[in-house]
């Protein structure tokens, strides 16, 4: 039967990690290991000014004194930081000026990923294609930056961090490390010392960024850590929506990824930051080979009435350690966190958010949907705190967990601190198992078991999916389905 054959082929094709391939582009490695000389090497490679090198070296010194954190509900073999490369860049002497100058292999990689269809149109300059600006990060160096002109017309700066350090040192000096301090935590500190590249965005006062800004991250070099650093500044009354999506090729070595994202918001500014994360989750049986994703993301609402919104769909990585947070410093500022975290196989995720209410009448909202399948472990860890001056602070938290199968685990660890008597915090949490009754009901109507799981899970995560920009939501929905293939039966 055609239908049966198709299904068989489809299932067979899904058994392999969809994005598991390695592009053959010659790498320009830093020597293996980590010491002050490597930090100098990275800085020199990037032609950085002395102040940047000093900043890195200071971070490296502090890092040496720090201990790797062990409070998260994840376990993994000790990372040998000396057994990794800290710099790998596609072999190109200077950044390309246009698409024609980009390595065709690289473009082929994007094609294979299937993600950047719309971006490819944009990259190819197709007339009438949607306006997305792509700052594609291939391993460590930004290779393609588009739409700069159009953005420049309204005064928006969107470039790689390296370029920002060269071209806009005053902005970088003013804001870098002010949201996530150098020694904020072990992994952020490591990032500060060896960060390779990342994106820089500045939106001037009163400007509404005319397009969604988008970055695709991809880890490609064998055994090289990936240390992105992103800084987004929304000046008074500015608005920007930023999309970040990731895939990675299959490999055996565990790969450390320790990114830092800093968002700065002045009065009445708004930043919407959306992430779809699909890194290699490791072998489903053994967990071998997956990405370690230890990320520090934080938005600082410095200005009154500013608003930061995090939306994340986390389906990949062997280990996820990530708490996109909001510091609600400005009066009447607000923070939102919408999250879907899916774990399958042997994946471990410890993720959530921190809403730190410092200003008066600040508001925050947390909607977290955790799905665990296989033998995975999924933990929501969230902090909501109101300081004495945060009179009238309000938070609403809804935290739902869905279990698929009998061998997975879900944990919810909320921390709530109200240090004044005029705050109102609400917390709702549910844990449910994907019911066999529901599955049978959907199957009796004609859905295969996999289709039934997809439908039920998509229903479960709907509240969060609808927070994503539409094109992203469609991708995310597919990703949710792929992540849970083979999780039942």
């Amino acid at each position: 039967m055609v239908a049966v054959k198709k299904t068989v082929e489809h299932v067979a094709s899904l058994e392999k990690y969809k994005h598991g391939f390695v592009t053959d582009i010659e790498q320009d490695f830093a020597p293996k290991g980590l010491n002050a000389d490597i930090v100098r090497f990275i800085s020199a490679k990037k032609d950085e000014p002395q102040w940047m090198l000093d900043w890195r070296l200071d971070a490296f010194e502090r890092w040496l004194a720090l201990e790797e954190p062990d409070w998260a509900k994840v376990s993994f073999p000790r990372i040998d930081y000396q057994d990794s490369y800290y710099y790998a860049a596609p072999k190109e002497k200077v950044g390309p000026k246009s698409l024609d100058e980009v390595d065709p292999d690289l473009l082929e990689t994007y094609k294979k990923l299937g993600i950047p269809l719309r971006e490819q149109e944009v990259l190819a300059g197709v007339v009438g294609s949607p306006k997305y600006a792509v700052d594609a990060v291939f391993d460590s160096v930004s290779v393609v930056t588009t739409f700069k002109k159009e953005l420049a017309q309204v005064g928006v700066i969107f470039c790689s961090m390296s370029e920002a350090i060269r071209e806009h040192p005053e902005l970088v000096k003013q804001y870098l490390g002010t949201v996530v301090p150098v020694s904020d935590n072990y992994f952020a500190c490591l990032n500060a010392a060896v960060f390779s590249d990342g994106s820089f965005v500045y939106v001037p006062p009163g400007v509404r960024c005319p397009m969604e800004l988008s970055t695709y991250f991809r880890i490609n070099a064998e055994n090289s850590g990936q240390f992105e650093r992103t800084l987004i500044i929304a000046d008074k009354g500015a608005y920007v929506s930023y999309l970040e999506g990731c895939t990675a090729p299959m490999r055996d070595e565990n790969q450390l990824h320790a990114a830092v994202v800093e968002l700065v918001l002045l009065d009445d500014a708004e930043i919407k930051y959306s992430t779809v994360q699909n890194w290699y989750p490791g072998d489903p049986e053994t967990g071998k080979g997956g990405i370690y994703n230890f990320v520090t993301k934080r938005g600082d609402c410095r200005g009154d009435r500013s608003k930061v919104s995090w939306t994340q769909v986390e389906t990949g990585s062997s280990i996820t350690w990530k708490y996109p947070s909001c510091v609600l410093r400005g009066n009447e500022s607000s923070g939102e966190f919408y999250s879907i975290a899916i774990t399958n196989g042997r994946q471990q995720a410890d993720t959530g958010t921190k809403m730190i209410h410092l200003g008066a009448n600040t508001r925050s909202r947390i909607i977290s949907k955790g799905i665990s399948a296989g033998r995975s472990s999924n933990t929501y860890r969230g902090l909501v705190s109101a300081h004495p001056k945060a009179k009238g602070a309000r938070n609403f938290t809804q935290c739902d967990s869905l279990l698929i199968g009998k061998h997975c685990a879900a944990h919810t660890v909320p921390y709530i601190e109200a240090r004044n008597g005029q705050s109102k915090f609400e917390h709702e949490a549910t844990t449910t198992r994907l019911s066999e009754d529901q599955l049978f009901y959907a199957m009796q109507r004609g859905l295969s078991q996999e289709e039934a799981v997809q439908l039920l899970v998509n229903g479960f995560v709907k509240d969060v999916l609808q927070e994503l920009p539409m094109e992203f939501a469609v991708e995310a929905q597919k990703l949710v389905a792929i992540s849970l293939e083979g999780s039942v039966g």
């Binding site: 019911s435 529901q438 199957m443 009796q444 109507r445 004609g446 295969s448 289709e451 229903g459």
Partner: protein, 248 residues
Amino acid sequence: MLSVSNLRATVGETEILKGLTLDVPAGEVHAIMGPNGAGKSTLSYVLTGRQGYEVTSGTVTLEGEDLLALEANERAARGVFLSFQYPLEIPGVPALTFIRTAMNAQRKARGEAEITAPQFLKLAKAKAAELKIDFEMLKRALNVGFSGGEKKRMEIFQMAMLSPRFLILDETDSGLDIDALRIVADGVNALRAPDRAMLVITHYQRLLDYIKPDRVHVLSGGRIVASGGPELALELEREGYDKYARAA
């Protein structure tokens, strides 16, 4: 159309169906009546392929095709539909989305083209009107927060949309007030056709006042212990199941 022969089935360690034989020809409506615990719901689950209901011997065919060899969704694609006694809630999935997904899955399995959005909406509007269902309700998550009567009506709506060949109604009258019962029965009767057959499983005769059966079977102790015309249902109403419980 449906032919069940000497069917034995277990749930866990317990044998529930103990040699059940039943024939439902095309165009007919058969009622299965019986006391609680007779195996009525088990029969509906065995016919529809629910996991955990183990067939140990016997055969079930639909127009000659072996149903027991098929998965639940494959049976659905061949036109087997069960109206659940307790319809499930599907949070976050609008009723229309659920039904359209199911319809297209069935069509795909049969090698047919998917229904287009305008075609689907037109059909849904027509069927909703027939069953006096507020169209806005179909945009809400399926059965979430619906009353018992609304859930049952939604089952019949799904049945009308999917247009199955063999219909099983499991205690469809339970939880319905008299008005809702009439609407549901009208919906079911509208589906009576020469190329369709129905199995109406019920504990009470009441439903059969509205959905007139061609044959009535008494299920007791996992077997059909008596069969007859509609008058058998009336007799059961008067005299109860005691006689048959002893016979089993």
